[in-house]
C-alpha cells in the first residue's frame, strides 16, 4: 500500500513524539534528587536548610536535559 502525504512531516511528528520520552528521564532525575534530599533531611533536619540551594541546583541540572528533549520536539514540529 502506497503511503500518501508528506513523509518528512510524518517522520518529524513521530520523532517529536519520541523526543517526549526524554521527559521521563528528567522526571526520574528530579525525583531522585528531591527524594535523596528528603531522606537526608529527615535523618538530619538541622543540616537541611543549608542544602536547599544545592538541591535546587541539582534539580536545575537534571531538568535541563528534559527541557532539551522538549526543545528537540519543538524544533521537529515547527522549525522545518
Amino acid at each position: 500500500m502506497a503511503v500518501e502525504g508528506d513523509l518528512v512531516q510524518m517522520g518529524a511528528l513521530i520523532g517529536a513524539g519520541l523526543a517526549c520520552t526524554g521527559m521521563g528521564g528528567a522526571a526520574v532525575g528530579v525525583g531522585h534528587v528531591v527524594g535523596n534530599y528528603l531522606s537526608g533531611a529527615l535523618r538530619n533536619p538541622s543540616a537541611a536548610g543549608g542544602q536547599t540551594a544545592t538541591m535546587f541546583i541539582g534539580i536545575a541540572f537534571a531538568e535541563a536535559l528534559g527541557i532539551f528533549s522538549f526543545l528537540v520536539a519543538l524544533l521537529l514540529m515547527y522549525a522545518q
Binding site: F56, A60, F61, I67
Partner: protein
C-alpha cells in the same frame, strides 16, 4: 463547537499562538525598531518593578508597610543567596544579580496574566541574559585570576590519568552553560503556558460541560505560579554559582 475547526487541529485555540510576536500598530514587517507585544510587556515589567521598588522604599519606615515588606524580602533573599553561594567578596556584583532576579520573576508573573505575553518564553530574551552572564563571568574570571582561571578545567583533586578526560568534560560543560541556562527558563515558560492553552482548548471544545478542564487549568495555573518563581530563583542561583567559579576557581 469542535466541528467548526475543520481539517486542521481539533483545538479551537492553538497552544503556540500565544507566543507569536506581533507589531503593536498595523501589520507591517517586524524590524529591530518595531514596537511589538514583546516590547509592550517588557515595558510593563519594568514599570511594575519600578513601582514596586520605588514606592516600596519611599517611606523607609521602621515598621514596614506591605509594599516595603515585599521589596525588603526580595532584597534580603537575593542578598543572602549571593553571599551564601559566592562569598562575601561577591557583594559588589549584587546589583547585577538583583536586576536579573527581579526582571525574570516579574516578567514571569506578569506573563501569567490571562491574555498577556510572556517575554521570558522567548529564547531571544533568555539567551541574551544568559550570554551576558556567560561573557561577564568568563571575562571576570580572567581579569581576577589571570591564566589561573583555566584551573577550573584541570581538577587537581582527581587522579592524574583521569584529569585530561575530566578536562574535556569540564570544557564541554562550561560552553554548554549559556545554552542550558537560557533554554531552561524559556522552555519552562513555554511548556507551562502551552499546557494551560491545551486545557483551554479542551474547555473550548467541550462547551458548557467543561468543568474538568477548567479545574485542571486552575491546578496547572497554581503549579505555574510556583514554577515561575522557582525558575527565576534557579536562573539567579546558577548565575551565583558561575560567579563563584570565576571569583574562587580553587574552591571547586
Amino acid at each position: 463547537m469542535a466541528s467548526e475547526a475543520e481539517g486542521g487541529s481539533p483545538f479551537n485555540i492553538h497552544p503556540m499562538d500565544q507566543f507569536v510576536i506581533k507589531p503593536l500598530f498595523g501589520d507591517g514587517d517586524i524590524t529591530w525598531y518595531t514596537p511589538t507585544n514583546a516590547t509592550l510587556w517588557m515595558g510593563i515589567t519594568v514599570l511594575v518593578i519600578i513601582a514596586l521598588l520605588v514606592f516600596g522604599t519611599r517611606g523607609r519606615a521602621i515598621v514596614p508597610s506591605r509594599s516595603q515588606s515585599i521589596a525588603e524580602v526580595i532584597y534580603t533573599f537575593v542578598h543572602s543567596m549571593l553571599v551564601d553561594i559566592a562569598g562575601k567578596d561577591s557583594v559588589k556584583y549584587f546589583p547585577y544579580i538583583f536586576t536579573l532576579f527581579i526582571f525574570i520573576v516579574v516578567a514571569n508573573i506578569v506573563g501569567l496574566l490571562p491574555g498577556s505575553f510572556t517575554t521570558t518564553s522567548h529564547i531571544a530574551v533568555t539567551a541574551t541574559m544568559a550570554m551576558a552572564v556567560f561573557l561577564a563571568v568568563t571575562i571576570l574570571g580572567f581579569v581576577k585570576n589571570g591564566a589561573a582561571f583555566l584551573g577550573i578545567f584541570w581538577i587537581s583533586s582527581a587522579p592524574l590519568p583521569l584529569r585530561p578526560i575530566l578536562a574535556i568534560i569540564e570544557i564541554i560543560s562550561y560552553f554548554v552553560r549559556p545554552v542550558s541556562h537560557s533554554i531552561r527558563l524559556a522552555g519552562n515558560m513555554m511548556a507551562g503556558h502551552a499546557v494551560i492553552k491545551v486545557f483551554a482548548g479542551f474547555a473550548g471544545a467541550l462547551g458548557l460541560g467543561a468543568v474538568a478542564p477548567i479545574i485542571a487549568i486552575m491546578a496547572v495555573y497554581g503549579l505555574e505560579m510556583l514554577v515561575v518563581v522557582i525558575q527565576a530563583y534557579v536562573f539567579t542561583i546558577l548565575t551565583c554559582v558561575y560567579l563563584n567559579d570565576a571569583l574562587h576557581p580553587g574552591g571547586h
